[in-house]
Symmetry: C2
Subunit: 304 residues, 2 copies
Amino acid sequence: MSGIPVLLVAGTHGNEMNAPWLINQWAKNPDLINNHDVRFSTVIGNPSALKACRRYLDRDLNRSFSADLLGDPLNADHEVVRARELVSLYGPQGVHPHQIVIDLHSTTSSMGSSLVVYGRRPTDLAFASLIQSRLGLPVYLHEGDKEQKGFLVEAWPCGLVIEVGPVPQAVIQDSIVQRTRLALSACFEEIAKVNSGQPLFPDELVVHLHLGSLDFPRDVKGQLQACIHQDLQGKDWYPLNYGDPLFVRGNGDIIRFDGDYQPIPVFINEAAYAEKKISMSLTKREVWTVSMEWQLALNDLVDI
Amino acid sequence: MSGIPVLLVAGTHGNEMNAPWLINQWAKNPDLINNHDVRFSTVIGNPSALKACRRYLDRDLNRSFSADLLGDPLNADHEVVRARELVSLYGPQGVHPHQIVIDLHSTTSSMGSSLVVYGRRPTDLAFASLIQSRLGLPVYLHEGDKEQKGFLVEAWPCGLVIEVGPVPQAVIQDSIVQRTRLALSACFEEIAKVNSGQPLFPDELVVHLHLGSLDFPRDVKGQLQACIHQDLQGKDWYPLNYGDPLFVRGNGDIIRFDGDYQPIPVFINEAAYAEKKISMSLTKREVWTVSMEWQLALNDLVDI
């Protein structure tokens, strides 16, 4: 077997149970997902956190892959140690080298199924365009955020996050499992086409560019002063217009969007993000041409 | 001011954020809830767990009020110590005595707003009948379960849980906050009527009697072998019929309900209950006459 070796990571966050459940069931029922002869490995990102049913023990594993953390010998946080281990075992120069990584997540936000890519690496954009062309999933392109960095997929030459919601933390819902399975199946089928030299790239990729994040209104002690307004809850991917409600205070006062543009919010009220001071992220929708450079970059990963 | 003193507890579980948020906003905006001159105190059940955004630190606080735990001098679990503290501060013989307790909870299950009472104490049934008559909320009557005991409200002469869902753990949703507020407002208004000797009891109380709980199918190691079937997810309060799907295995096999009765499931796929080996609880709907004994029992609490 040849072609790009793919690493599937589930349970990077220990209270996102659906992908680990899927991977576990797949191990018992090999017919559950057709790998189309693509070489792959599966790994639980943070087994200790999964066992404890917590997002992480010391720090967010999916913010622990920055070069400074990986290279800091004094940092012995559980997740930093685990990040080093994952890279040394499964990284592009690891014991078992992999060139593509797919990191399976879930969210409490009503985002449906989506893809998250980090930065503008040609390989990622080419891969995302194949999946989007196949399933129509929206792509959230996260970049230029000094507060949020060190994502897992950045430690591999190509990779993306499959994000499925809404689902509460610590809950397995069959509909979420099935949507994860569908996205993963499409990934295998598209990678198989890349391996055989016959990928069918679309002309365009629709991306939602990260513009920034909004914190909740807080008092001087950092306590929340308002929560997400009912009208905004569940409205991920819908453009915000001037005057739309964002937050509501305890006394009923409404805080409204007062921008003169129409950003598209994502990760509205994600449970894990309040501590990161994120009530939602704002994006801008753009349509990009799928360039030959992207296609060649992805192709270069075959039989590397 | 006279009448029954009422204790309101929010944050008994530290990752159920909506009631603590409401209580906090109410403290800042006294007009938010009309207490109808009812005497009351508010308290955060488990402040340390709330700060950590975890259900509990050592053990479930809402299973820590049994006589054997409260009286065991060797048990120093955080929640057992806290249970003793709450009883000694706010219990019926406490420093600040309260006769009624209302314990505010949320659930990831799609149960809407409901009341939970424990056992068949006349005071609880009388109080629940007033709230049900007012708002139409279903009552889940939990009893006879050796595995689940030591509930907070049982340490007071009268008390019930207000349970609102669905909402993920660790998320504040305004719709959940508002429904909690509505139920709480009704409680105050009805207690005020009891205080003034003019409660309007309904003729009947509809209860959902706890019959037992179903665990998830598990293997010999205790690992889940199946998850809740899509058709059952979100169907709390809908009767189960013979042949209805309950669980689905990874290979697609469906495990169906094979009973010859029609139980009504509640707490389907509640995030916190998998560790308690509960995938759902089954109940039986009954219509009870609101007896004079219940009414007198509640009335006896006035100016006790």
